[in-house]
Symmetry: D5
Subunit: 96 residues, 10 copies
C-alpha cells in the first residue's frame, strides 16, 4: 500500500553542530535500511529545500506511523501524508 509523504526538516539554530550531525547520521542509516527493506520505496530531495518527497510501501497505516515516528529527525519535521493508489493509466508494475 503506497503513501506519498513530504517531510520538511527544521533543526533549531541553537542545536550544537555535533548533535545535528549525529542526528543526520543515524537518520541516514535508518533511511537506507528502510529503503533496502522495500518499505521506503522512493526518496528525493526537493531542490532548494531541507525537505524530501518519499513514497512508502507499507502493509498498514499503523506501520507507516511507527516508521515515521521512529525517525531520529521526527521531532524536527513537519510531515504531510497522501494515500496513493494505482492509476488506471499506469503501465509500470512497480507503481502498484
Amino acid at each position: 500500500m503506497l503513501f506519498h509523504v513530504r517531510m520538511d526538516v527544521n533543526l533549531p539554530p541553537a542545536m550544537p553542530h555535533e548533535q545535528a550531525e549525529e542526528l543526520k547520521r543515524s537518520e541516514r542509516e535508518l533511511a537506507q535500511r528502510l529503503q533496502r527493506d522495500g518499505q521506503w520505496r522512493h526518496l528525493w530531495r526537493i531542490a532548494g529545500q531541507y525537505a524530501n518527497v518519499s513514497i512508502f510501501d507499507v502493509d498498514s497505516v499503523d506501520t507507516l506511523h511507527a516508521l515515521l515516528t521512529s525517525l531520529p529527525l521526527f521531532p524536527y519535521m513537519q510531515i504531510q501524508i497522501m494515500p496513493l493508489c494505482r492509476h488506471p493509466s499506469s503501465v509500470r508494475d512497480g507503481d502498484a
Copy 2:
C-alpha cells in the same frame, strides 16, 4: 532530470459525456506512451481525488513544458511542479 508534478483535473460539468470519454481515452494513450518512453517515470492516483502525482524524467524544462501542454486534458488541469534532485541518503539507482 526529475520533476515532481501534481495534476488536478476539473472537467466542466456541462461537457458532453462522449467528449469527456474521448479526452480521457487519448490522455491515457499519450500517458502510456510517455511512460514506456521513460519520460513519465511514475504515475499514481491520489486517493479520493481526480488528481495524480507524477515523476517526470526529462532532459530540460522546455521538454517538460512541451510534454505537459501536449496532454489532451491540459486545458482542464491545475499543475504544480517541484524540481527534484538525488537525496544524499538514497540507495536506489532509479531515483537519480
Copy 3:
C-alpha cells in the same frame, strides 16, 4: 485500517430538482449499505454545512478509492482524506 474522510457537496444550482433528489436517494442507499457492511464505520453531518465527516474501515487504499468514486455524488464532492491509527491512550476496542 481507518481513514478520516471529509466530504463537501456542491450541487450546481441549475441541476433539476428531480435529478438532485434521485442522486441523493441513491447516495443514501449506498451509504447505508456500506455502513451495514462495516466499511463506512461512522457518518456525521457537520452543522450548518452540506458536508460530512466520516470514518472508513477498509482493507486498503485502493478499496477506499473505489468506494468513494462509486458514490453517486462523487462528481460533486470535494474530498479530504487523513489516514488514522490507534491512539496509545485509546481504551475503546472499536477505535482500532
Copy 4:
C-alpha cells in the same frame, strides 16, 4: 451532543524530558477516564502527526470547554472544534 475536535500538540523543544513524560502520563490518565465516562467518545491518532481527532459527547459547550481546558497538555495544543449532528443517512445508533 457531539463535537469533532482536532488537537495538535507542540511541546517546546527545551522542556525537560521528565516534565514532558509526566505531562503525557497525566494526559493519558485523564483521557482514559473521560473515555470510560463516555464523554470522550472516540480518539484516533492522525498518522505522521503529533495530533489526534476526537469525538466528544457532552451535554453543553461549557462542559466541552471545561474538559478541554482541564487537559494537562492544553497549554501546548492548538484546538479546532466543529459541532456535529446526526446525518440523515446514518444507520448507526451510536452516531447520534
Copy 5:
C-alpha cells in the same frame, strides 16, 4: 447554549429580481420570528458585505442545524460556526 454564526450570502447574478426579493422577504420573516422566539439572539450586518454575524441560543446542535438549513437563503450561503461559552470576566447575565 450559544453559537457564533457568520453567514455570507451569494445570490447568482442571473437570479430574476422577483425571485431574489421573495427569498429575502421570507428570509426576513423567519429571521424576525426566530429573534422573537429568542433562538436567534443577536443579528448584525458586517459593514460593506452581504454578510451577517449572529449569535444563536439553542438547546442542541441538531436544533441549530435545523434552524440554519430551514432559512430560505441557506442554499446561497457560506456558514461558519464557532461554539461559545461564558467568559469568566463577563458581568452580563445575557451573555450566558
Copy 6:
C-alpha cells in the same frame, strides 16, 4: 457604533506564573469596568481557545483603539476588528 472584535491571547511559555496571574487579574478588572460602562457590550469565550469574541459600542474608532491598547494583555494579543451596522432584519433594539 458597534465593532466585532476577536482577541487571541498568546502568553510566552517562559512568563513567570505570578506575572501571568497579575496580568489576567488586571485584565479582568478593566474588562469588567468597561462592560459596566457599556463600551464593552458583549464578551464570550470561544470554546477550546484562549480567545474571545467581543462587541464594543464606542463613539469613535479612536476610542476603540485607545480601549484595546490599554488592555494589560494587549502586547500578547492578536486582534481582528470588523465594523458592524444594524441589520435590516433585526428586531432587537439592543443590536443597534
Copy 7:
C-alpha cells in the same frame, strides 16, 4: 472617522458592453460627488488591477455601509474595510 476600504471589481464577462459602460459612468458620477462632499477622502487605482484603495471619512459605520451599498458597482465588488485612527507620529492635520 476614517476607514481604509479596498474594492475589487469583477464584472461578469457576459455583461453587455453598454450595461458595463453605463454602470461605470454612474459609478464615476457618484464617486466624484462623494469626493467633493468630503466623505470619500482619497481614491487611488491599484496598479495592474481593476481595484482601488480608498479612504472614507464618515460620521458612523452605518453611513459608510449606506455609501458603499449605494455604489452602482457594489453587486460586483469584493470589499474589505479596516478602521483607521490618527497615528501618534502623524504631523498632517488632514490625516485625522
Copy 8:
C-alpha cells in the same frame, strides 16, 4: 509616484524597555521629517494593531527602498508594498 505601504511591527518581548523607547523615538523623528519633506505623504494607525498604512510619494523605487530600510524599526517590521496610480474617477489633485 505613489506607493501604498503597510508596516506591521513586532518588537521581541525580551527587548529592554529603554531600547524599545529609543527605537520608537528615533522612528518618530524620522517619520515626521519625511512627512514634512513630502515623501511620506500619509500615515495612519490601523485600529487595534501595532501597524500602519502609509502613502509614500517618491521619485523612484530605489528611493522608496532606501527610505524604508533607513527606518530604525525596519529590522522589526513586515512590509507590503502596492504601487498606486491616479484613479480615473479621482477629483482630488493631491491624489496624483
Copy 9:
C-alpha cells in the same frame, strides 16, 4: 525603474476558438513591440502554467498600469506586481 510582474491567463472555456486565437495573436504583437521598445525587458513562461513572469522597465507606475491594461488579454489575467530595485550584490549593469 523595474517591476516584477506575474500574469496568469484564464480564457473562458466557452470562448470561440477564433476569438481566442485573435486575442493571442494581437497580444503577441504588442508584447513583441514593447520588448523591442525596451519597456518589457524580460518575458518567461512558467513551466506547466498558462502564466508568465516578466520584468518591466518603465518611467512611472502610471506608465506600467497603462501598458498592462492595454494588453488584449488583460481582462482575462490575474496580475501581481512587485517593485524591484538594484541589489547591492549585483554585478550586472542590465539589472539596474
Copy 10:
C-alpha cells in the same frame, strides 16, 4: 536551463553583528562570482524586503541545488523555485 528563485532572508535577532556582517560579505563574494560565471543570471532586490528575485541558468537541477545550498546565508533563507522556459512571444535571445 532557467529557474526563477525567490530567497527571503531571516537572520536571528540574537546573531552577533560581526557574524552577520561576515555572512553577508562572503554571500556577496559568492553571489558575484556566480553572476560572472553566468549561472546566477539576474539578481534583484524586492523593494521593502530582505529578499531577492533571481534567475539562475544551470545545466541541471542538481547543479541548482548545489549552488543554493552552498550559499553562506542558505540556513537562514526560505527559498521558492519555479522552472521557466522560453516564452513563445519572447524576442530576446538572452531569455532562452
